[in-house]
Symmetry: C2
Subunit: 353 residues, 2 copies
């Protein structure tokens, strides 16, 4: 048995028992509230966890980019939702090729996107299902009002090769009421217009346990819930004991009494703060603060620590944002307790297009 | 001829003409001041550019991690400086294997690191050259005083398998005088102690054109100078017309009059702000502000723009920090003017260990 402390660093450790518990907890919650779960694979980028979520009851998976969809389709997953505006000939051709081998559904928030999809799929044997993306408070993509959602739904329904599938949002964290109100109004307006929304897809982990309050939603797309991270703990979604992803790093320098340097910098932990102070939580030294990152060095302030790590010590760090860490490593090490189970390639890592 | 606007997005474009000019400008400067150049490959992670810098006169290359050194050694580069504390059995064995096939030099800032190196190299046919890393103001790794530098140099000189090679620093941007003073004092103290520093290695691009003011230094390790970026332009190292790396992105949504969404988020541009407002400069819309990034979306505020991009438009973006962008892409596209020359794999990408 290899102990995790025998691993070279930096390394990403994935606690399989916590993954399983996190997946089950969310599926149980969804089942209890009659919500379907369509988890986002962006957090883990591993076909095995996508499949495990579906074994537990998820109705399919969510991906953000064509490259991720292709990896998951290659791995045998046939129910894929890609909530993204697909623009341009290259991507439309790749979408068509995916559509011919798996059931893939997309979103649009503009007539330009809809027209591009329709031109590509006009002669398709089976139509492409398109949901309307709604901006319910996030301020990113999405139509700006329920009335605009109805207008774009009508455009989709009238476009050759396309089928209107419903509504989708990625909501702002904490704005549950505003999100629910937008979706309810849009859903009612669509029904009144004779275009019922078969799917209303809500998303996000920060408000996962309030997903049932968004009564118009038929399904939810959580992502980070599988690993959790320091940000989600700060949001109250779970505790540090639920965090399944940690970065293992080695102390390589102790230049002063109160400073330690580790071999994990922004190439391992990323610069994402998500509004938090510091760049992660060091499990064994919770009073230590990771005050700075350069690419290959993390700088730690130990001034509040009663005991302090020494050169050569290996530290486990819960990062601020787990998803972006997955994207930085070619492989991750699956563990159970302190034992290494297996090191696996992050199959959908780096799929930017 | 493929035009860059025919490329799928997001893509990283590398302007070969600007690369060549940036390499030559720095080499000419170094030559004029009698400084050796030992460029850092972290910015590009491409053997071809490492070799080109050496053809132009660089005395070797700098890498930060063993994985980078291995890639460069495999590509035929035999003079490698790795200014890092190498800790732990796995890494020491890899260093020894590298030492047997190329000339590799490292740094140390503690007796622990020196003792680990000596244990590994005690029976080596040729000694490993070790420089003392000095903290001349950066607050990262490094001994804290010239006296401590002398003490550690003596330790190295007296350790089996090791040879004392000199001093190294990565200085804080803008602190040229303090950096110069520390190195001069340490160099003099070493000479007085009978341990002359054959190499005094200074680094960084922000103060590259002031490197000659650090009179104790025998060589310099610039990294970002090859591509430049928005941060270096802000520091006055060059102009936007010198920036060789751009991210090509597509406008995928225009949800409001003043908002555009592009298909480049933190997985393409990274969250690094380096103290700048916004996440990059859009060349064709300098008044636009990239106000937010999620993983696959960039949110742009167009409120100050007289003309505004439309859905499907492709935009070239100068990122805040070029080095971290190189680490996110499996390949980059070399260009000349608006023409695509070749797409190449980023050979040393993701080498965290």
């Amino acid at each position: 048995m290899t102990d995790i402390l025998d691993l070279d660093t930096p390394a990403v450790l994935i606690d399989l028992d916590r993954v399983e518990a996190n997946l089950k907890r969310a599926q149980d919650y969804a089942d209890a509230h009659g919500l379907k779960l369509r988890p986002h694979i962006k957090t883990h980028k591993l076909p095995r966890f996508a499949k495990r979520a579906m074994e537990l009851g998820a109705v399919g998976i969510t991906v953000q980019k064509l490259g991720e969809a292709e990896v998951m389709a290659d791995a045998g997953i046939s129910e894929i939702f890609m909530p993204y505006n697909i623009i341009g000939r290259d991507k439309l051709d790749r979408l068509k090729a995916l559509h011919e081998r798996v059931h893939i559904t997309v979103t649009a928030d503009s007539t330009e996107t809809v027209e591009g999809l329709s031109a590509e799929f006009a002669n398709s044997e089976t139509p492409l299902t398109v949901l309307v993306e709604c901006d319910t408070g996030m301020g990113r993509c999405g139509v700006q009002s329920p009335a605009a959602a109805v207008a774009l739904a009508e455009k989709i329904a009238n476009s050759p090769g396309l089928s209107f599938g419903g509504l989708m949002t990625y909501p702002a964290a904490g704005q549950v009421e505003a999100n629910a109100a937008f979706l309810s109004e849009a859903k009612a307006a669509l029904a009144a217009a004779g275009l019922p929304a078969a799917i209303v897809s809500n998303g996000g982990t920060p408000d996962l346990w309030r997903a049932h309050e968004v009564t118009a939603a038929t399904e939810h797309r959580p992502g980070t819930y599988i690993y959790m991270d320091r940000y989600q703990v700060a949001k109250g979604v779970g505790g540090f004991e639920d965090c399944a992803l940690t970065v293992l790093a080695t102390v390589v320098s102790r230049p002063t009494e109160d400073r330690a340097i580790i071999d994990a910098g922004s190439k391992a932990l990323t610069s994402d703060t998500l509004g938090l102070a510091g760049f992660g939580l060091i499990e064994a030294y919770p009073d230590a603060v990771i005050v700075g990152l350069s690419e290959e060095h993390g700088t730690i302030d130990l001034s509040k620590c009663a005991t302090k790590p020494k050169i050569g010590d290996k530290l486990r760090i819960i990062p601020n944002h787990a998803c972006v860490v997955s994207n930085l490593f070619d492989d991750v090490t699956l563990i159970s307790g302190d034992a290494v189970v297996e090191t696996v390639a992050v199959a959908a890592r780096g799929k930017v297009g």
